[in-house]
Amino acid sequence: MAGSNPSTQEYISHHLTNLTYGKLPAGYVRDGGTLESAQWTVAHSAQEAADMGFMAIHLDTMFWSIFLGALFCWSFARAAKAATSGVPAGFQNFVEMVVDFIDDNVKSIFHHKNDLVAPLALTVFVWVFLQNLMDLVPVDWIPELAKIMGIHYMKVVPSTDVNATAGMALGVFMLIIYYSIKQKGVGGFAAELAFQPLPKWALPFNLFLEIVGLIAKPISLALRLFGNMYAGEMVFIIISLLPFYLQWLLSVPWAIFHILIITLQAFIFAILTVVYLAMAYDHH
C-alpha cells in the first residue's frame, strides 16, 4: 500500500486515475483558490481530471504506449535490418517466429491482395501485448517511483485506458470504412448497408441494423480489451490491499493466469482486426 496510509477507497481510485494534462475553465475552484482564466494544467485530483472534459490528454497513457510502441518498432526494425536468408539466431529467431505466426493467421483469414493488413496485425498484436504486459509489473512499483520523482498519478498499463484501446479501434474502423468503399464503391457500400438482410421495402430497418453492426465492431474491439485489462488490473490492485505477506498467495496465481489473458487479448484484437478487414473486402 502507498506510504501515507490512505483509505482503501482512495488507494484504489488513485491507482485508477490517469496523469491528466488538460484545460480547466475560468472560475474553476482549485486548491482553495479560483482560476481567473481558462488554464492548461496537470490535474491534481481525479475530480479535476474529470472536470477537464474532452480537452485533456492522459500523459501516462501516451508515454507508456509510445514508449512500448517505439520499443516494438526499434527492436523489430533491428531484427529486420539484420534479417538474412541464412540461419537466424537469438532475437531474430523470436521475431521471425512472431512474424510467421501472424503471417500464417492472416493468410488463413484474409485472402485478398493487401500489403497493409499483415503488418497492421503484427503491430496490433505486439503493441497490445506489450501494453498488456505492463500489467504484470507489480502495481505499486512504477507509481511509487513516479511519486518519488514528483509525479502523483501514474497508470502504467495503457490498455486499461479506454482512450488507448478506442484509439486503436477507431483506426481499425477507419480502415474498415476505407477498404469497404475502395472495394465496393460508395454505392456498393451503401447498398450493402441498406438492402440487406431484408429486401428493399425494409430499408430503414436494414440501415439501422447494418449501421449498428458496423459500429459494434470498433466498440466491441475497444471495450473487450479495455474491460479485460481494467478488470485484471483491478484484481491486482485489490490483491495489493492484502497484508504484504499474503499477497503472493493470490497475486502469483493471478499473474500466471494473466499471462494467458494478456496474450489472448492481444491475439484476439489482432485477429478480429484482420477478420473485420476481410469482411470489408468481401461482398455480402
Partner: protein, 156 residues
C-alpha cells in the same frame, strides 16, 4: 473512463507505428523468410535430384559391369580358341616338318644305298675281272671284255 484527446493522440501514434511496421519491419523480415524458404526448398530438391542421379549412376554402373563381364568372357573365349588354334597349327607344322625330315632322311638313305650299290657293283666288277683273270690266267683284252663284265655287274 474519461474519453478525451488521448483517443486521437493514440489514433495518431497507432497510425505511425503501423506505418513504420509496414515500411521498415515487415518487408525485410518476410523477404528474408521467403528467401530462406526458397533456399531450403531448393536444397531439398537438389538433394532429391542427387539421390535420383545416384540411382541412375548405380544402374549405369551395373549395366557397364554386366557388359564388361560379357566382354571379358568373350575375350577369354577368343583367347582360348586362338590358343587351341595355335596349338593345332603347331602340331600340324610339326607333323609336316617331321614328314619332311623323314622324307629327306629316306631319300638320303636311298642315295646312300644306291651309292653303296654302285660302289659294290664297281668293286664286284673289278673283283670279277680279277677273278676271271686268275681263272683264265691268260691275258684277256681288258677293253674287249669290260662291256660284258659291266653288263654282268649291272644285273647284280
Amino acid at each position: 473512463m474519461n474519453i478525451n484527446l488521448t483517443l486521437f493522440a493514440q489514433l495518431i501514434s497507432f497510425a505511425i507505428f503501423v506505418w513504420f511496421c509496414k515500411t521498415y519491419v515487415w518487408p525485410p523480415i518476410i523477404l528474408a523468410m521467403q528467401e530462406r524458404q526458397k533456399q531450403i526448398a531448393d536444397g531439398l530438391n537438389a538433394a532429391e535430384k542427387a539421390g535420383q542421379d545416384l540411382e541412375v549412376a548405380h544402374q549405369k554402373i551395373d549395366a557397364q559391369l554386366v557388359e564388361a563381364k560379357a566382354q571379358a568372357s568373350q575375350i577369354l573365349d577368343q583367347a582360348n580358341k586362338r590358343a587351341a588354334q595355335i596349338v593345332d597349327e603347331a602340331k600340324e607344322a610339326a607333323l609336316t616338318e617331321g614328314q619332311r625330315l623323314k622324307d629327306a632322311a629316306q631319300s638320303d638313305i636311298e642315295q646312300e644305298v644306291n651309292r653303296a650299290k654302285e660302289q659294290l657293283r664297281a668293286q664286284v666288277a673289278s673283283l670279277a675281272l680279277i677273278g676271271a683273270e686268275k681263272v683264265l690266267e691268260a691275258s684277256i683284252d681288258e677293253a674287249a671284255h669290260k662291256d660284258i663284265v659291266n653288263k654282268l655287274a649291272a644285273n647284280l
